[in-house]
């Protein structure tokens, strides 16, 4: 049986990754994810995990080494943040196009410049369209659970895609908190050994990463898109199975006190829990407010989202990144697109919050909820704001 422990979430993430018995780990240090690979190297050094640990010279090489290792049929893991993730970017769409289920933890951090090591979601948002399955954890428990789920999702024969698990830098990575850590036997029961679709081995020579001429490129991209669309079913199945075995429920779109809510807040990542407190307080005062938490970012859960926000009058989307010169934050753009064709839909506002580690307290969420509830008419130019930016 697993047990309740106190542990820094980054270390717990590493423990969870190790429970999945990866064969090859390649990572490069960058704040704030560093404790994850650091602790994995400890686990390997202690002999608790039989894996090749490659101290690569860059993130680009980390993800490249994972590609090569995954190509041989090894279960592979890496972790990074911010600039490191951007340095990987060249390779990220290739990993998914090659259908290699590399698993990556991302300790989310702002993107330079100015250089800033603190938390927001701009790093992952630059990777939105790379074809990775993308999960967002709200706390330490979800981080651990998602790490293990990710291997099962990514390696599923109907998916064969890389998966990233997003945990907020510092806000999650550096916090010690209670976590139920499954034990090896439980994880082994949940996650079978990796059976690769193809392996680089002379017994059955094959080529990976071939050249796609225009004659097949549309078809190849369609195939990749179908794969990630289809992955949603697997995500849901894996989450159901998880709930059955571990008793913790996961949904692509989680709702908190949404029943009868006229105003909804929507968050991704660790700020959801602070927002819950705001909802509690507003509800105490009789304000009909609810909260929607997005756990699955790619594939985007359009259907589930529409269902959850349907009855609300207004919806405030909390983004943690800016799409410069664009329609607001990237999550906001997605939500609006999801609702565009709906005959009955809430009015949507966008607050871009907590950039580069700017703290958000309960009162901030209350303020935003009240503003959302009281905004009756919205001029297009007021649709989004960078919340709390001093004028």
């Amino acid at each position: 049986m697993g047990k309740r422990i106190g542990m820094e979430i980054a270390l717990a993430a590493a423990e969870a990754a190790a429970l999945c018995r990866p064969d090859v780990i390649a990572a490069y240090p960058i704040t704030p994810n560093t404790h994850i690979p650091e602790h994995l190297s400890d686990i390997v050094a202690e002999g608790r995990l039989d894996a090749e640990y490659i101290c690569v010279e860059s993130e680009h090489s980390a993800i490249s080494a994972c590609c090569g290792a995954s190509g041989t049929g090894a279960r592979t893991f890496t972790a990074t943040s911010s600039q490191g993730l951007l340095y990987m970017q060249e390779v990220l769409p290739i990993v998914s196009a090659m259908r290699l289920p590399v698993i990556m933890a991302i300790g989310n951090r702002a993107v330079s410049g100015p250089i800033n090591i603190w938390n927001d979601h701009s790093d992952i948002m630059y990777q939105r369209d790379t074809g990775w399955v993308s999960l967002f954890a709200a706390n330490g428990q979800e981080t651990v659970d998602m790490m293990i789920q990710a291997f099962k999702i990514g390696e599923h024969r109907d998916v064969m895609l890389p998966v990233n698990i997003n945990l907020d830098g510092f806000q999650l990575t550096h916090v010690v908190e209670p976590i139920f850590m499954p034990d090896q036997e439980e994880v082994d029961r949940f996650l079978p050994p990796y059976k690769p679709y193809a392996q680089l081995h002379p017994d059955k020579p094959m080529s990976m990463g071939t050249l796609g001429l225009p004659e097949i490129f549309n078809e190849a991209m369609r195939a990749k898109n179908e794969a990630i669309l289809q992955s949603k079913k697997v995500v849901l199945d894996v989450w159901k199975e998880w709930e059955k075995q571990f008793g913790r429920k996961y949904e692509p779109v989680e709702s908190y006190k949404t029943e009868g809510a006229e105003t909804l807040l929507l968050t991704m990542g660790s700020m959801g829990e602070t927002a819950e407190i705001a909802v509690d307080e507003l509800r105490k005062d009789g304000v009909p407010v609810g909260l929607v938490k997005l756990k699955l970012w790619r594939p985007f859960p359009f259907e589930e989202l529409r269902k959850v926000v349907k009855g609300a009058k207004s919806l405030a989307v909390m983004d943690r990144a800016v799409s410069f010169g664009g329609p607001g934050g990237p999550v906001f753009a997605e939500i609006r697109s999801a609702l565009y064709d709906e005959p009955k839909k809430p009015r949507t506002l966008n607050f871009i919050i907590g950039l580069g580690g700017r703290d958000m307290v309960v009162e901030d969420f209350i303020k935003m909820a009240k503003k959302t509830a009281s905004t009756k008419k919205l001029r297009p130019e007021d649709a989004y704001e960078i919340y709390g930016a001093r004028e």
Binding site: A97, M98, R99, L100, K204, M206, M208, G212, I216, A223
Partner: protein, 97 residues
Amino acid sequence: MTAKKWPETWQEVNPGCMVFRPGSASEYHTGSWRAKRPIWENEKCIKCGVCYIYCPEGCVTEGADGFFEANLDYCKGCGICAHECWPAAIKMVNEED
């Protein structure tokens, strides 16, 4: 097995565009690139095999009699074999001839 030149539908594209038919490039014949082709004069040939080893296509093969010939399905007519043939047993001739 000769496959279709292209997969017709997206469903036919292998996951990751992986290719499970090693050496299948040989389905494509590069012989059409050639303007000149090599001719062996076996009387001059000393069977050393320099033509074989220096062929970038790997299309020069040794026959049962120990003499060499180029597989014209693939020979691009680069002329290396003729140029390197020490006893000058290979000549490049125009395709039309």
